[in-house]
Structure formats: structure tokens, C-alpha cells
Amino acid sequence: MPVIWILTLILVFSIIGFFLGRARAMTSAGGDMRSLHSLPSYYGYNSALFLAVPSLILLGLWLILQPIYIESRISSLLPETAISEDTTRSLVMSDVRRVAEGLDVAVDQGAMTADEARNIRTEFVDVRERLGSVGVALGSEVDAPILNAAQQYRELSSTMNIVMTVLVLALGAAGLTFSYVRTDKDFRARNVVESVIKGLLILASTIAILTTVGIVFSMLFETRNFFTQYNWVEFFFGTVWDPSFSGRGGLSEFGLIPLLWGTLYISFIALSVAVPIGLFAAIYMSEYASPRMRSFAKPVIEVLAGIPTIVYGLFALITVGPFLRDFIAEPMGLGSSSSSVMTAGLVMGIMLIPFVSSLSDDIINAVPQAMRDGSFGLGATHSETIRQVVIPAALPGIVGAILLATSRAIGETMIVVLGAGAAAKLDLNPFEAMTTVTVKIVSQLTGDTDFSSPETLVAFALGLTLFVMTLGLNVLALYIVRKYREQYE
């Protein structure tokens, strides 16, 4: 039975369960709602939840685990002889899956009867041609063991599907029966529903956490693969970034330092633009501007945050880059490249202004007026009050805003590609083209890639490095915020 049908059934039965549970509770109370422990609808929810939650969880787990199980079963059934020298077991398995899918399609379209699909033999039928005629193109002739495995694959899937349907529905029925039997007027349905809901919330956060953990582990795994092929000392301390692409031959050099330097240099320039401008704009808006001015200026600044970064990139490429080159870099003899660290840094800084200003503005506004009054009452001027009372009170939030902007700067790609170029270089001159970690991740993964060569795997090592950097920043932000909290609250 298709999954969508199972879901519909569960939904329908839950609704029925709701009314059953409610009705039973009412009957047990003799029709008087006041002698029930909980409101009648809680008994209904109780029945519905006991039906739906366990069966949905079982269904979810089954759907995740079934392909893994079938895969390993069929793979162990494949004879060694089916795997020729120039291929691997996993490649053969993907052929098997493809043929199995093809047979499914053929049956669906009526080009083959179900019996036929189960029993055809390569000796009598040209499977490749038959499947080709229903639109499933296969790379090579289907040989007997593969067809055989594909047929087993289909067989196993369909039995497993039936088992799943039966088990899921049986579990739902059991849950309903259990809760139905328990329902009577003294049963604490309200508390049970409360704890089930709490459980669901916990489940949701667990899924979020597990996903993060999963991402980290997959990165770790690929990174480890990379380090089996490339020396980690050379990666972390190498000063040359020179990957050779497949086909050109030669050895690649993956030194992280130039990329890291580019990332930090550009982020530094971006933050030196964004933090002062953003912070001062926030102070002006929250402390000096009239409400009318503020209600106009704040949205206008926030528009900056809504511009896609590729547009900023174009701005860097077309306007800022040539301008800096023609009016600053060339006259001063600092280089003749229009893509430069300065270009990307400036444009990225503009992009980050609203991140800093908008958050800081909200935070400064949240500082209680009583605190300003206290300072004014002692004869402090407006700017003394801002410097000595308002900003310190708002500091944890402001630091948070700045670190958020930093994370954005480190992770930014588009502006860098268009503004600073893609040449990995170690240089102090801000008018020189350089590049960042993110840009190199993209360029290592685009084009003709082979996911087992160090040229590709290095992207994961770079990604993990970025992840660790932003994680470190977040931890730092938390630490700072907590430290000031203790002091100021």
C-alpha cells in the first residue's frame, strides 16, 4: 500500500479515535462533564495521540531502515562473479536498483505484466530494449545475475511493504485499544496529553540536533578521507594553494594559509566598515532621531539586508572595483587589478551594516529609560550617558550582533568571487586580488569532479575548517554575553 494511503488511514482513524475516546469518557461520567478528571476533549486527544504517534514513528523508522536492509540483503546475495574487475560492488548495486526501478515503471505503464516482470529471463528477452521502450535507459546490457538480483530486490521490497503496512496499522489499533480501555472518568487524560506533547517537542529538538551532528559527522568522514591522501601538516600550514585538475596531471598543493588569510583580511575590512557605521547609525536612530525620522530610516537601512549578495557582487565588480583601481590603487602604485581585497571588503561591509545597526538599535532601545534618567539626573550630557550607561548596558547584545555579522562575513561567497577574484595569494597589499575559503570550496566542487580524489575531498576539509571557525565565534559570543549578563543583571 502506498505510504500516502497509510498516512491517510492513520489520520482518519485518529479522528475516529478522538470521538471514541471522548464518547467513552462522557459515558463513564454518566454524561456529566464535571465529574471527569479532565475536559472531554483531552480524552479524545489521548486516544488520537496513542493511535497516531507510535504508528507514525514506526512508519518513519521503517521507511528509513528498509532500503538499507534490502540493499545489504541483495548485495550479499550477489555472486562474486557478477562483479567484474573494472567495477565495484556498489556500482553493480546501483545497476540492480536501476533495473528494479525500470521493471516497476514497465509494470506501471502496462508494458509488462507483473508476472512477466517477476519471471523474465535474459536468455529469452532483451531486457535493455524492453526497458528502453518505456523510457528507462540502461548503460549496458543486463546480464543474468543483475536481472535476478533486481527481481529479488522487487520481491523483497513488496513483501517488506506489506509487512510494514500490517505492522503500522496493527500498532495503531493496539494504541487505540490501550488508550480506549484506560479511558474512564478518573483517568488523568490532561496530564497524559501534556506529557505526550512534551515528548513530541523533545523529539523535534532531538531531530534538529541529530541533523547537525549528522552533518558534522559526514564532513568529518570526508575530511578524514582527505587526510589519508594528503598530509594534514601541509594542509594546515602550507602557504601555497595550487590544486592541479584531473587530466592535467602533476601534484596538487593544498595550503590553507592563503585562503584563511584572504578570509580574515576581507572579513576584517568588512567589519571595519560595518561595525562603526552600523553602531553609530544605531545610536543615532535610537537616541537622537525623532520617531518620524526613525520610522523612515530604519526600514531604509534594512532594505540593504534584503539585497541578494550576487547583486552586491555585481556592484563590486562593475562599480567599486574599477573605481578603486582607477582612483586609488593605480595612482598610488599599489596594483592594477580591479578585483581586490579592498573591493570585496568594502562592499561586504556595506552589506553587513544593517546586521549591525538593526540589531544594535533594538538592543539600545531596550535599555530602560530609567537608566538614562538616572544619568541625566546626575548632570551627564547625552553623549556621556550613551557612552557610559547605555552602551555598557547594551553591550552583550551589541557583541552578539557583531559576531553575527562576522559569521556572515566569513561565510560570504558571492561578493568575494566577483569582488576579490579567485586567486589564492598571501599578500599584505589590500589592492591585490585574493580569495577566501568559501570561494575555493565552490571551485573545487564545480566542473568535472571525482568524489574520491583529494582535489574534491579538500572541499570538505575546508568546509570543516569554516564550521569550526564559526562555531568558535558562536561559543565566544555566548561566553561574552554570559559574562556581561552576570555583571549587568
Binding site: L378, G379, V389
Partner: protein
């Protein structure tokens, strides 16, 4: 009655610290203070009493122009400090507030250490020539606010971590440290226990030897204990203003009498 006081004033003009004439305060359309005329003498404690919402805090805030920070607030009339109109264009409200200190109705310590809270005013106004002098100012101010013994071992702890009553005394110490000429106190004892209240009252009495104090209070006993002059406000009007003994023993206005005996309010 007004005439009587005017003649009195003629006798000892130099004693007058603040003179308010026909003061009106509006919050938008809300006429919060109506025609208030008051003389506050130097080296005297003046108490403002009256039911909640009658405008005591509002009038108090006029005296150091704290109402400037409220957009919708408008003040009319004349208020003179040492014969100088404080609402004159040439007067710098910042300078004025250094002379007329204030303790607010709700404690509002800064998010700084206890020491820095008290040292804030002296630092801004350059009252201390050296660190030791500053330390001294901080210590005496905290002692006068009856807080020293409780905080002397944790001067670096945040002021916001103190209890409500301690915070209020910290705010008093902070205001005293700036050595103002007039100290405005808006219900300084509302969060204090009887012992701390007694200490603060002692402080007020002590401050009187050097400058004038205006205190808003809801406690009749407190007004009677600490003040020499009492002003009774009702619905934005100044109903009666006279010697404290006179107000409490022989009030002219029936509204004053019923408030003092507990019938209004």
C-alpha cells in the same frame, strides 16, 4: 495668605533657593500641574505630599528639567534657581542637573559596579583630583546613605545585584556624591525597611545643614519627622503650602485636613 509669604520673603531673600511661579505642566492634553507657586528655602527640607497621581513627581521633575526628556511634556511658568530662570534658553540643563540632584521613585542603578555607580557623578564633573580623593568621596557618600557597611567588601560587584532597598540607597549615595545644591528625592524610602528608613531620614536631616532637600513621600509621619515645610498637592493643584507643624496641626484647607487624617487618598 500668599501676600503674607511675600512679605516674609522680602525679609530674607537670600534664603530662597527655588522660586516657582504659576507653573503649568501638560502631558499632551493632560493638564498635570495647574498654577503651582512655591518657594523652596535654602537649608530646609520641604516635603511634597498628596494622593497618588496628583503630580508630585511631575512637579519635582520640573525643578531640574528632567521633564525635558519626555517628548510630550510641556512646562509653562517661571522657575528660578538662585534668581536665575532655569527654563531660560541660555541655561544648560546638564549644568542645572549637576546642581539639582535627583533620587528617583524607582531605584535605577547603572549596570556598573557599586563603586562606579557612586563615582559616576564625581568623575563626570571632575570633583576628585586623585584616586584617593575619589575613594574618599565614594566612601563618605555610601556611609551617608547608610550602605557602606553592607557593601564595603564588594565595591566591585554590580550595583544591579543589590536588593531593591540597597539599590535605592545606592542611588541616594550616587546623588549625594555629586554634591548638589538642591537634592530632589522622590519617595526615597518606599522600598526601605524601618531601620534603613531611619538612617535615610537621619541623612536628610544631616544634608539640610548644607543644602536644601525636597522630598516626596506618602508617609505623613515621615513628612512630619523630617521636613520643615510641607506642600500638599491635590489633582494637580497646590492646595496648601506652609510650615510643617502648621500643616499637621492646624491646616487651613479642609482637603488638607481630610488627607492628613486619612480621608482622601
Amino acid at each position: 495668605m500668599n501676600d503674607m509669604r511675600l512679605t516674609e520673603r522680602a525679609v530674607d531673600t537670600n534664603q530662597l533657593k527655588i522660586t516657582a511661579r504659576d507653573v503649568q505642566v501638560f502631558y499632551g492634553d493632560n493638564h498635570a500641574i495647574k498654577d503651582v507657586t512655591v518657594d523652596i528655602q535654602d537649608k530646609t527640607v520641604t516635603a511634597f505630599i498628596g494622593p497618588s497621581g496628583c503630580g508630585k513627581s511631575t512637579f519635582l521633575r520640573c525643578l531640574n528639567r528632567m521633564n525635558d526628556t519626555i517628548d510630550i511634556c510641556r512646562v509653562e511658568g517661571k522657575i528660578l534657581l538662585d534668581d536665575e530662570d532655569i527654563y531660560d534658553k541660555r541655561v544648560d540643563p546638564v549644568q542645572l542637573r549637576a546642581k539639582v540632584g535627583m533620587v528617583f521613585q524607582k531605584p535605577n542603578p547603572f549596570p556598573k559596579s557599586i563603586y562606579d555607580n557612586v563615582a559616576y557623578g564625581p568623575k563626570i564633573h571632575g570633583l576628585a583630583r586623585s584616586k584617593t580623593e575619589l575613594d574618599e568621596i565614594v566612601e563618605t557618600s555610601l556611609r551617608r546613605a547608610a550602605l557602606w557597611d553592607e557593601v564595603k567588601d564588594r565595591l566591585t560587584a554590580p550595583g544591579t545585584g543589590l536588593s531593591g532597598g540597597q539599590q535605592q540607597r545606592l542611588c541616594i549615595a550616587r546623588a549625594v556624591a555629586t554634591s548638589p545644591e538642591v537634592l530632589l528625592m522622590d519617595e526615597p524610602c518606599s522600598a526601605l525597611d524601618p531601620i534603613a528608613t531611619a538612617q535615610v531620614e537621619e541623612l536628610i536631616d544631616d544634608l539640610r545643614s548644607r543644602f536644601s532637600v525636597v522630598i516626596v513621600t506618602h508617609s505623613m509621619q515621615q513628612a512630619a519627622r523630617v521636613s520643615q515645610k510641607t506642600a500638599f498637592f491635590h489633582l494637580g493643584n497646590l492646595v496648601e503650602f506652609d510650615d510643617t507643624t502648621k500643616i499637621f496641626t492646624n491646616p487651613e484647607d479642609p482637603r488638607t485636613e481630610s488627607y492628613i487624617t486619612g480621608r482622601i487618598g
